[in-house]
Symmetry: C2
């Protein structure tokens, strides 16, 4: 690490890249082979549960592991209902539909997110509407949101309209980026003032809390992901969580082809989905949920080590949880100071060459051709941050390899 005293002017991209790489070498002196960005881990219980599931023959969407997984997940989140889905994208799509997002309405969401967030909106034939984020949380900036809605929003009979497009604005989706809780109190206040439903994209935030409450449970509904790269995994999987029994029942109904209960007859009262998590994936998930507290603790130790390693650096810092947040630190994130922005790709090359898998943040959604025409606020922070972020190896087990 280069101290502020030694470093009055920017040393240049290559020296910085060398320095960052050396910092990681120093953190993980005993590593063997390359460090992936995020590796899944399984205990023996995982194998036992999955074998038990196969022997029961109930491997599909009817099964006891799905119920057990949902109960355990709801308990962890401190919420009344969890509905297990085939993945996080499906969970967000169903959560949005259940929250009342109709075709041809607009859904507010950050542009700095994985493509699944706007895709879930598009799959409902609704329109993503991008708003700006801030550097403290990487989530939607509440003040910028209010400013934008004051400018383009129009309340008619309690319903918010985009006066530029004439469309209803039906929901807002705070995304808890890399596990860092967005500024939920301020976002809930703003959404309430404008009469817009809040659906959280907590795909990356299992184990993260805001003022003690679990992410995904602060809005009307939330969506969580259990993809292979997440803090725990079911192979592919997701869940909708909510305290509202009616919304949970509708989410469950919609995800199982909206079939009406009957011993043998087939009738369906909504255009539903085939989105329920299979029992074999839930069996894996039941064992994974047991490991969550330990994994959050390890990931927080790892984050503390990263933060310490880069503390006081003149050209960059590690993103810390904000005042009211308890982050799962899903992916540790290096933020380049604005003057070092142009170093990003050199740092990425050095790190990946040295066996530290690192990657930039997603290309902002409004810069993709597929979402270039979507309505949006001005996005200065999104555009600047998109060039300044680097994710670092973040598997929980790295906490055991620290120097």
């Amino acid at each position: 690490m280069i101290s502020r005293a030694e470093q009055k002017t920017f040393v240049g991209a290559e020296q910085l890249a060398n320095d960052v790489t050396a910092c990681l070498e120093a953190l993980f002196p005993s590593r063997e082979g390359p460090l992936p960005l995020h590796e899944p881990e399984f205990n023996e219980q995982a194998e036992a549960k999955v074998v038990e599931c196969i022997r029961s023959t109930f491997v599909s969407s009817v099964g006891a592991f799905v119920s057990e997984f949902e109960e355990k997940l709801a308990h962890i989140c401190g919420v009344a209902h969890a509905v297990a889905m085939v993945n996080g994208t499906a969970a967000l799509e169903v959560a949005l539909r259940v929250a009342g997002v109709e075709p041809n309405t607009e859904v507010l969401l950050p542009s700095l997110t994985f493509v699944a967030t706007p895709n879930a909106v598009s799959h409902l034939n609704a329109v993503p509407h991008f708003v700006d984020v801030n550097e403290q949380t990487l989530g939607i900036d509440p003040e910028e949101l209010r400013r934008h809605l004051d400018q383009i929003g129009e309340l008619k009979a309690g319903q918010l309209f985009n006066r530029k497009t004439g469309r209803i604005i039906s929901a807002i989706v705070p995304v808890h980026v890399f596990g860092h809780p967005a500024a939920m109190d301020e976002l809930l206040d703003a959404a309430g003032a404008f009469g817009v439903a809040v659906v959280e994209d907590a795909a990356e935030a299992l184990g993260s809390r805001y003022k003690g409450r679990h992410c995904a449970t602060l809005g009307r509904l939330g969506a969580i992901s259990f993809n292979g790269n997440k803090i725990i995994t079911t192979g592919g999987g997701g869940a909708v969580v909510t305290d509202d029994a009616g919304l949970a029942a509708t989410a469950r109904h919609l995800s199982t082809t909206a079939k009406l209960p009957h011993a043998w007859a087939f009738a369906h009262d909504m255009v539903g989905y085939n989105y329920r998590m299979p029992n074999i994936n839930a069996a894996l998930g039941v064992s994974q949920l047991e490991e969550l507290p330990d994994r959050v603790a390890k990931k927080r130790r790892l984050a503390a080590a990263y933060i310490n390693q880069f503390s006081g650096h003149p050209d960059l810092r590690i993103l810390c949880e904000s005042e009211h947040a308890m982050s799962n630190y899903w992916l540790n994130t290096l933020i380049l100071e604005p003057h070092a922005t142009d170093s990003r790709d050199v740092i990425l090359q050095y790190l990946n060459s040295a066996g530290f898998m690192a990657r930039p943040v997603w290309q902002p959604m409004h810069t993709l051709d597929i979402y270039a025409d979507a309505p949006r606020a001005s996005l200065p922070h999104t555009e600047a941050l998109a060039e300044r972020l680097i994710n670092l190896p973040s598997s929980a087990k790295l906490a055991e390899c620290l120097s």
Copy 2:
């Protein structure tokens, strides 16, 4: 069994229900407990493969079992490409999109199908357009199809329009109901004459062939399901199969969020899906595919026994494969003669009470409120058949319990 000689006039619903139940008791004299409609089965290899998958830590959508499953499936189907998906509904949705089904176009399909068929169309924001089926295959009737298209269709610049709605008719979806191949030659001819792409819903037809060619490979693309109730299962799963390398590549790309290949950067060039089959489900599938030939053979033995047991019955028969078809007999199907239509529910009650899980065919799609406004042909055979079909217990292993 009651012979035709003994039985000149209809005996009434209760006596018929008693007779059918007695026929099943006679077929399975040594059964222990109720017989489900269709049970999954797993060998020891299934457990070994899934444990191997967990130990590799690659349980999610990147993994060797997905590739192995796709290769084995393509080989079985005698086709160049298979793309594994999260379920059959997703596979059909992607196949339709890849075949060129655009929003607000119409897709021809039978009303006598599971709700997933029209739902896949609806999820693309396209419109199901229901056509009639026949009693020989339970699939789309080619003559009725031509008659209907002559009436409502209008070819303009090589593109078929529905002159009543003004919408393009973009595809036709033959469904191989209960594993019985539809009359593909005649349907392909008709589709060709009207310039409409053919996408097969072969959800139920893995192992079924038409003139020696595997179902799902006769049109441009086909969709197969591996749900828990199918001939083999991956928990939840499906696949798109096709001989067209370009279509297969697009299906694969669309199902993995349409992400462009890059070591670390995120760019997406289509509004894609999170629809790839997870590796852990594919591990199960690899072991299941090994069992397919044996399972098809057993299911055909079981079907032969059912056919023989009810042969010559004056009030009903078992659906047989048609001349050019080799059916997997996924679900054995009892067809009531028209005069015995009203007996169906009594037979269902008797069979289910006696521990033989039986069910009627799906309520026709055009009679559901959600599809009541969809365009359609007149559907006399669909409406009549919907009241006359009963599925009987059909697990492959029942072939070993036959009297």
